[in-house]
């Protein structure tokens, strides 16, 4: 893992004290609310429905056990004993007091964390594949580039007052678990000619009220040129992105209105201008960062663990958890374990201070003290010996953290919705809870197979509903909540935007409709088909009719 040096530490400390001064000047009126808003947003502080919300960055989704423990302590000390992990590898605290926020930021700085640029019209927390560095299908670890981008984008003099927010995601694997095609910039590590590493660059993807799949800007940018290339994209966007209408201000609209070809040409022109800029080379810095992400010393282990096989035979619940919640690791005898934050009836992504401490202890005991946060709002233990899985599972199970549902139907992604958010038009959490209860039966869940249900409580789409196999969008229609369903969305390399199904459902009817659709799918699926495959084989209109079958 990356560790701060004296300069990183000083930078974050100065930023905290700068923010402390900004809060004071807001309170004296030296800063008016319009002036203060972007400053507090750039430090992760939102004004929500009932209170302030502080969003803390977990850069490229990686955190240490020590950091997780501190998040738990902050939840207990300054909040109501819990925090909410988001789809963009942040954690949100929902009840901090404004006066406490600088102190919270200091506590975060104590463990090399911050809330810098987790909101506002600037370059946001850089996200990455939650299995980065350990996935069996990985070409190279994208996190050194993530750290380089984190540093480069921090308090950037030129790109801190952009037309709108700007999100960058990275992956180094063949499968896209970082949703790169729906980011302002998506980067995929690829091997160029002669095995040289570089990035395939995507731009202009996004969800929100105008969902768009990004365009490929370039097939290959050598790693050494990446910052310059990103800088060129940012400069074109900062100069030309629309500022007359906040709903048309994202880079996706600029690319859409300009046309991909013109946009590409302009980026290339700017890139050519700065290509030989002596100020830019960063290879040396990248090499320094890379050393922090060198693979740990894995033990030479047999690919199959006998102890694991025995424990699975003896305990079917454990066997199910292993089947559902573990993923292929690049090192023999090791595995990636997903801790689901979607217990039956729970709030997706929420964890209490106690749960955070258990997860930290689990990481210390069984995962080389490291954890990850996923876009599915779950926690990942990246380095678990297969032979330790049973002990890990027992520890998690005792804490109620062993739900066997990773990527199954009850692994619902949901934004906070109207229970917290000032923008929401409907509640999302109760719908998510109802789904986890309705489909709680583990055998049924495994039978249904992998499926993504994603819920947003307004058209801003924080719950990523556009990319759910089943997407649910909560709206307000003549004073009542109405839930519109989209089908066929896909956040991965085979990216697709879900198609709308038809009239919305009332809160009390939406889960019934989903149940009808699931039963229809189970009845019509062919051998081994996933929901997605059945959807594509039967087509949208057949599947959508199943939602309304009883109407």
């Amino acid at each position: 893992m990356y560790r701060y040096d004296e300069f990183d530490t000083q930078f974050v400390r100065e930023r905290v004290s700068q923010f402390r001064g900004q809060v004071e000047r807001r309170l004296t009126g030296a800063l008016n609310e319009d002036e203060f808003r972007p400053l507090r947003l750039m430090n992760g502080l939102y004004l929500q429905l009932h209170a302030y919300m502080l969003r803390v960055a977990i850069p490229y989704g990686t955190l240490s056990a020590h950091q997780m423990r501190q998040l738990g302590a902050i939840a207990d000390k300054y909040d109501r004993g819990y925090g909410h992990f988001t789809t963009r590898q942040n954690i949100q605290f929902n009840w901090p007091k404004l006066k406490d926020v600088p102190d919270i930021l200091d506590d975060l700085a104590d463990v090399e964390m911050h809330a810098i640029q987790t909101s506002g019209n600037c370059i946001r927390n850089v996200t990455a594949d939650p299995y980065a560095g350990v996935a069996a299908d990985e070409i190279a670890d994208p996190r050194p580039t993530g750290e380089l981008l984190r540093q480069w984008s921090s308090n950037h003099p030129e790109f801190s007052f952009l037309p709108r927010k700007f999100k960058i995601a990275l992956t180094g694997a063949r499968a896209d678990r970082a949703v790169i095609k729906f980011h302002d910039i998506g980067l995929r590590l690829v091997e160029g000619e002669g095995g040289q590493l570089g990035y395939e660059v995507w731009a202009g993807g996004g969800l929100g009220r105008t969902p768009m799949i990004g365009i490929k800007v370039r097939d290959f940018v050598p790693t050494a040129d990446l910052l310059r290339y990103v800088e060129a994209i940012m400069r074109v966007y900062n100069a030309e992105g629309r500022r007359d209408n906040k709903y048309k201000a994202r880079i996706k609209i600029l690319i859409h209105e300009k046309g991909g070809e013109d946009f590409r040409a302009e980026v290339e022109q700017e890139f050519a201008r700065i290509a030989h800029d002596p100020a830019a080379p960063v290879e040396k810095e990248l090499a320094r960062i890379q050393a922090f992400f060198a693979p740990p010393a894995y033990e030479a282990l047999p690919a199959e663990s006998e102890a694991l096989a025995k424990a699975k035979l003896a305990n079917p619940n454990f066997a199910r958890w292993v089947r559902v919640n573990t993923r292929a690791h690049k090192a023999p005898g090791y595995t990636i374990a997903v801790i689901s934050l979607k217990p039956k009836g729970g709030v997706p992504g929420d964890a209490t201070g106690d749960e955070m401490r258990v997860m930290a202890d689990a990481a210390d005991a069984y995962s080389m003290s490291e954890l990850r946060v996923s876009a599915e709002q779950n926690i990942v233990l990246p380095n678990v010996k297969a032979s330790d899985l049973f002990a890990l599972w027992q520890m998690l199970d005792r804490a109620g953290l062993a739900s066997s549902n990773a990527e199954l139907i009850s692994d619902v992604v949901s934004c906070p919705g109207m229970d917290y958010c000032a923008l929401a038009t409907a509640r999302s959490i109760p719908i998510a809870q109802e789904i986890t209860e309705r489909f709680a039966e583990p055998v049924l869940q495994e039978q249904i197979g992998p499926i993504r249900i994603k819920i947003s409580g307004c058209i801003n789409a924080c719950g990523h509903h556009h990319v759910g196999d089943i997407g649910i969008l909560g709206l307000e229609k003549t004073g009542a909540e109405a839930y519109q369903i989209t089908l066929g969305g896909d956040p991965t390399e085979s990216a697709a935007i879900g198609e709308r199904s038809g009239p919305g459902f009332p809160a009390e009817g939406v889960v019934d409709a989903i149940e009808r659709l699931i039963h229809f799918y189970l009845g019509r699926r062919e051998d081994g088909e996933t929901f997605k495959q059945t959807y594509h084989r039967l087509g949208h209109s057949v599947m959508k009719d199943a939602l309304y079958a009883s109407h």
């Binding site: 000083q10 030129e158 007052f161």
Partner: protein, 167 residues
């Protein structure tokens, strides 16, 4: 309108001449970009220092032929949240403009270091804003951050350079 230089409020010796009125002898004059072509050469010949005020959708490259003759370029900030001017300044500096660069309009003290880093020398704000954000705020803002990660921008100590020096 107050002008800020090196964290201090200073007198502004530039003026914006009204079109059609004769300029006071020796005055330093800021012209709108549209007037540059027609008026600048004569004014420079008559001994005036000439600056230009652009809009924030002007392509900085359009000013390149004028760089040697311009003593000042003024870049507007219609709202503090509109950061186009930061890219314009960066481009002007990278194109080789060495004269004074001024940010004018709504820029708050908290953006002062960013503006300096992008190449601005001076900031011009409204009287109302100066009343809320007096000189000490700007002096303080200058020292709020002492380090920056980005290379190719000034004047803060560069972290990458410092690291390499320490190695």
């Amino acid at each position: 309108m107050p002008l800020i230089k090196d964290g201090h409020f200073v007198a502004d010796d530039w003026s914006r001449p009204v079109e059609g009125e004769p300029a006071v002898a020796g005055a330093k004059l800021i012209l709108a970009f549209a007037r540059l072509e027609a008026e600048a050469s004569d004014l420079i010949e008559a001994g005036h220092a000439v600056g230009v005020e652009i809009t924030n959708d002007t392509d900085p490259a359009a000013l390149e032929p004028w760089f040697d003759r311009l003593a000042l370029i003024v870049v507007p900030f219609p709202r503090a949240a509109d950061g186009r001017g930061f890219s314009i300044a960066t481009r002007l500096r990278r194109l080789g403009y060495r004269g004074e660069l001024r940010a004018s309009g709504h820029l708050i003290a908290d953006q002062y270091t960013l503006a300096r880093s992008c190449g601005f020398d001076t900031v011009e704000i409204s009287d109302a804003q100066a009343a809320r954000q007096p000189e000490p705020h700007w002096l303080e803002a200058e020292h709020a951050m002492s380090l920056a990660y980005q290379r190719g921008y000034g004047p803060l100590r560069n972290i990458l350079g410092a690291r390499w020096a320490a190695q």
